[in-house]
């Protein structure tokens, strides 16, 4: 564990998570969720869980972001609520 790296990464994770659920634009929410996944991937790699970090990078930041973008394309871009 490197606490300096934790101190940088953890506030960014929290900011990305809060921004992803408060932003009105669904496309921006998708991109913020991808950034959240990538930051979580770096956090896990930093904690020594390389396999989990690899899965998070491949699934969370890679494929599921593409899925969300494909889903946003067939719905409306902005949320109504």
């Amino acid at each position: 564990m490197i606490w300096q790296l934790d101190l940088i990464l953890l506030p960014l994770v929290i900011i990305c998570a809060i921004a992803a659920i408060t932003v009105r634009d669904l496309f921006s929410a998708t991109v913020l969720l991808g950034a959240f996944s990538f930051l979580m991937c770096m956090l896990w790699a930093e904690m020594g869980a390389v396999d989990v970090a690899f899965t998070e990078a491949a699934v969370g930041a890679g494929v599921s972001t593409a899925f969300f973008i494909a889903a946003v394309f067939v719905t409306t871009r902005r949320t109504k609520d």
């Binding site: 690899f54 899965t55 699934v59 890679g62 899925f67 494909a70 067939v74």
Partner: protein
């Protein structure tokens, strides 16, 4: 939904990048039992290369390269490899997926038989995960209309 892009930079870059992404996916699958990675991650990387084909070119072009029918065959081929490896162990008298017994039919010792058993499991998982991820992406991108998307 996805219209063909007339951007030479994106097309050329994706044409250069996609073989290396697929090579990395195969590397992750093949080295899954010895290092971080494995069938699931490698299959996701292979599926991401297909997503890049759809984004860079258009959907009919991507389906011409990797058709829906071939995808369905791959989808069940991976499950077949996984289940057949397990059943081979069962038929030779050990438990399901107890690879050590495979040295009766492979010309190796039990340790290396375990190695090759795990390898074939990873290959099966990788093929199925790739096919399912591609199928999910095609479902999402066409809104569930599979073959009609070819005629648009």
């Amino acid at each position: 939904m996805i219209t063909p892009l007339e951007n030479i930079i994106i097309k050329t870059l994706c044409r250069l990048l996609i073989p290396f992404i697929q090579l990395f996916g195969l590397y992750v699958i093949v080295h899954g039992h010895g290092s971080p990675g494995g069938g699931f991650q490698g299959g996701c990387i292979l599926a991401a290369s297909f997503v890049l084909v759809v984004v860079a070119f258009d959907l009919p072009e991507a389906k011409r390269r990797f058709s829906e029918k071939l995808n369905n065959i791959f989808c069940s081929l991976g499950v077949f490899i996984y289940a057949w490896t397990g059943w081979m162990c069962l038929l030779l008298g050990a438990n399901f997926l107890d690879y050590g017994i495979l040295n009766k039919i492979l010309p190796v010792n039990p340790v290396m038989a375990r190695y090759y058993g795990m390898f074939s499991i990873e290959v099966g998982v990788g093929i199925t995960v790739m096919a399912i991820m591609v199928s999910l992406f095609l479902d999402l991108v066409t809104g569930g209309k599979h073959e009609e998307a070819l005629d648009e």
